[in-house]
């Protein structure tokens, strides 16, 4: 079966810095893909190429089997690729429903079609049912986002992306700033997304998170893909070795010893 996303031989350089070298990435339907690598390994650059923030120097992107060119995040969003930003792109002064519908508010005609007013009730209802479907526990969609915990905010950010009929949700360090108790809830939510026919690309430094939710793990190192592993057939040690390059060095050392 054709994968949902196929990135082929993506290269990208910024001046003299080669950020990505011939990187391939596939993402299947209902798959959670862990994307790992050290700082500067090219994870964020690769995701920015996928969302159209950057244009690749070389390489192709196929979505649902069709070759695509994303010239802006708007294009990739149209296709159903949503990025949940690390810095939680929510407006704390707006309530939950307001954030979920920010930029695409529901309106209804008033005064005989003369003017369009916000459909507060419709948005509250739809937001509540969206949270319900995703099993996100927030007492009320009327609560201001700044009163929520970090995990709840992360959940609202995910719900927001789901509201756009996302097929692919990219999450950049979703658990980095969370309390332990909250991490579990966010991971639960990520696993939940599969049931809604959504694929997830998860960028994280927390190996235990990656191993808890991912089906497959791609390892980047210095702009190259150095590992594409099925989670059930690998170990944390192996992945860490690939990230740090220790495996290569160890082999090198072994060879020299011979």
């Amino acid at each position: 079966m054709e994968p949902l996303v196929r990135m082929e031989k993506i290269s990208k350089s910024f001046g003299p810095v080669q950020a990505l070298r011939q990187v391939d990435l596939t993402l299947h339907r209902r798959e959670i893909l862990g994307l790992v690598g050290d700082n500067g390994a090219g994870k964020s650059t690769l995701m920015k190429v996928l969302t159209g923030v950057y244009q690749p120097d070389e390489g192709e992107i196929y979505f649902n089997g069709r070759r695509m060119r994303f010239y802006s995040p708007h294009d990739s969003r149209q296709a159903g690729i949503e990025m949940v930003y690390q810095d939680l792109a929510l407006a704390g002064n707006l309530h939950v429903a307001g954030n979920i519908f920010l930029g695409r508010e529901l309106t209804k005609k008033s005064l005989g079609g003369l003017i369009r007013f916000l459909d507060h009730k419709g948005m509250a209802r739809a937001a509540a049912s969206l949270l319900e479907r995703l099993k996100i526990e927030i007492q009320s969609v009327d609560l201001k986002v700044e009163t929520l915990s970090g995990g709840q905010r992360q959940a609202v950010a995910v719900a927001r992306s789901m509201g756009f009929n996302a097929r692919v949700v990219i999450m950049d360090e979703p658990t980095a700033a969370l309390a332990v108790k909250e991490v579990a809830k966010v991971l639960e939510l990520i696993k939940n997304l599969k049931e809604h026919d959504v694929s997830v690309i998860l960028i994280s430094h927390r190996m235990q998170d990656i191993f808890e939710v991912s089906d497959r793990i791609i390892v980047l190192r210095q702009g190259r893909k150095v590992g594409d592993l099925v989670r059930s057939q690998t170990t944390m040690d192996e992945v860490v070795a690939l990230i740090t390059g220790a495996q290569g060095e160890a082999m090198q050392a072994g060879m020299e010893a011979v």
Binding site: A89, A91, R104, L118, S129, L131, Q139, S140, D142
Partner: protein, 369 residues
């Protein structure tokens, strides 16, 4: 979408704590308290019809400036030019109505209009037409100043709206003095004066006296209502709050942040133009004194007292209106009590600082980190 699940997630989590009540109605309570105190201290004058009508008529232009300033402060910006733009509007209004009148009268009495049987320049038709044209040009002036303010921030990318609007303050003031030559242009058509000085007779007392309310007060009530609807019920209003709360989030969500900012500064300029009409109408003159400045600081003070946050994204139209009233009643009350103008300034300064501190406290408790 099944109904039971919705019903479960929907209940409103209103907390009926003292803090929540104070947060929501604190400013209104402060206003009531102030009025009670003033009533006790000045039992003969404060609550009289004359005094309240007087206050209602006096707050018109500050109320309009404060409304525009509130929109700008909602986006975490500042508009220092509203006072000077109002002054420029006052001059444009008076100057243009005089020029239009002179031009038409000259042409009419030269024979062309008289012979053609056109209406005389002193007649209501011509004067009303002149008024409408002058008012349109005045509003256009305000709108243009606001648009330039917005562009300074969004296109020239000047570091902070403080700078662009400070520049505009000087430019508008300078142009107002250039047009007027520094002296007042006195005498305005009735159709203009009515906005600033007219009254609506509501009903007649047994004594034969009329209960009147100033038209300017009705005008600001209409403006405040329209802007309340605009901010709370429309998509653009929602986006103004979002831009003030987190401009980056708004940008990611596809909100055209520059466009929202331009709109906000344009509305602030437009409202300064409307304030100019009130101001000129009230004193029946276009005086360059109006452009001297200082009114923008009162407008900012009213917005801050009204509970809006300088950090952006927080505050209400109703709060701003109460802020205007509090400022007006303090001035009025202290006048009634014969307190020196200089002490009034000290009192208002202390209240501004208190209001801003309350905002800081509120943010500290509301936010969860």
């Amino acid at each position: 979408m099944s109904t039971p699940t919705v019903a479960r997630a929907m209940p409103r989590a209103r907390r009926f704590s003292v803090g929540a009540v104070l947060d929501r109605f604190g400013i209104a309570l402060a206003l009531v308290l102030l009025m009670v105190i003033l009533t006790i201290l000045s039992p003969e004058y404060f609550l009289t019809r004359e005094n309240l009508t007087n206050v209602a008529a006096r707050i018109a232009f500050i109320a309009l400036l404060a409304l525009g300033e509130f929109l700008v402060i909602l986006t975490a910006g500042i508009d220092l030019s509203v006072g000077a733009v109002m002054g420029l509007a006052v001059i444009v209004l008076a100057w243009l109505s005089h020029r239009l009148y002179e031009w038409y009268a000259g042409w009419y009495y030269a024979g062309a209009g008289l012979a053609a049987g056109l209406p005389p320049p002193e007649g209501p038709v011509v004067l009303t037409t002149i008024s409408v044209l002058a008012i349109a040009a005045t509003l256009g002036t305000g709108l243009l100043c606001g648009l330039l303010n917005g562009w300074g921030f969004t296109r020239l990318r000047l570091p902070h709206p403080f700078i662009m609007t400070l520049g505009m303050l000087n430019i508008a003031r300078g142009v107002a003095f250039l047009i007027s030559g520094g002296s007042p242009i006195t005498g305005l058509p009735k159709a203009i004066r009515v906005f600033g000085a007219g009254n609506i007779r509501l009903f007649q007392f047994a004594s034969g006296e009329w209960f009147k309310i100033p038209i300017s007060f009705v005008v600001i009530l209409i403006f405040y209502f329209v802007f309340w609807v605009f901010l709370t019920q429309t998509q653009t209003g929602r986006h103004i709050y979002a831009v003030g709360g987190n401009p980056q989030a708004a940008l990611y969500a596809g909100v055209d942040v520059s466009r929202i900012l331009n709109k906000v500064y344009m509305l602030s300029g437009l409202l300064a133009g409307v304030a100019g009409i009130m101001y000129a109408g009230r004193i029946n003159s276009g005086t360059p004194k109006a452009a001297r400045g200082g009114d923008e600081l009162d407008a900012i003070a009213a917005v801050i007292i009204g509970g809006a946050s300088f950090f952006g994204g927080r505050g209400t139209v109703v709060g701003t209106f109460i802020g205007v009233l509090i400022l007006a009643f303090i001035r009025n009350g202290l006048n009634l009590l014969n307190v020196s103008v200089f002490w009034q300034e000290v009192a208002i300064g202390a209240i501004i600082i208190t209001a801003a501190f309350v905002d800081v406290l509120r943010l500290r408790t509301a936010r969860r980190e």
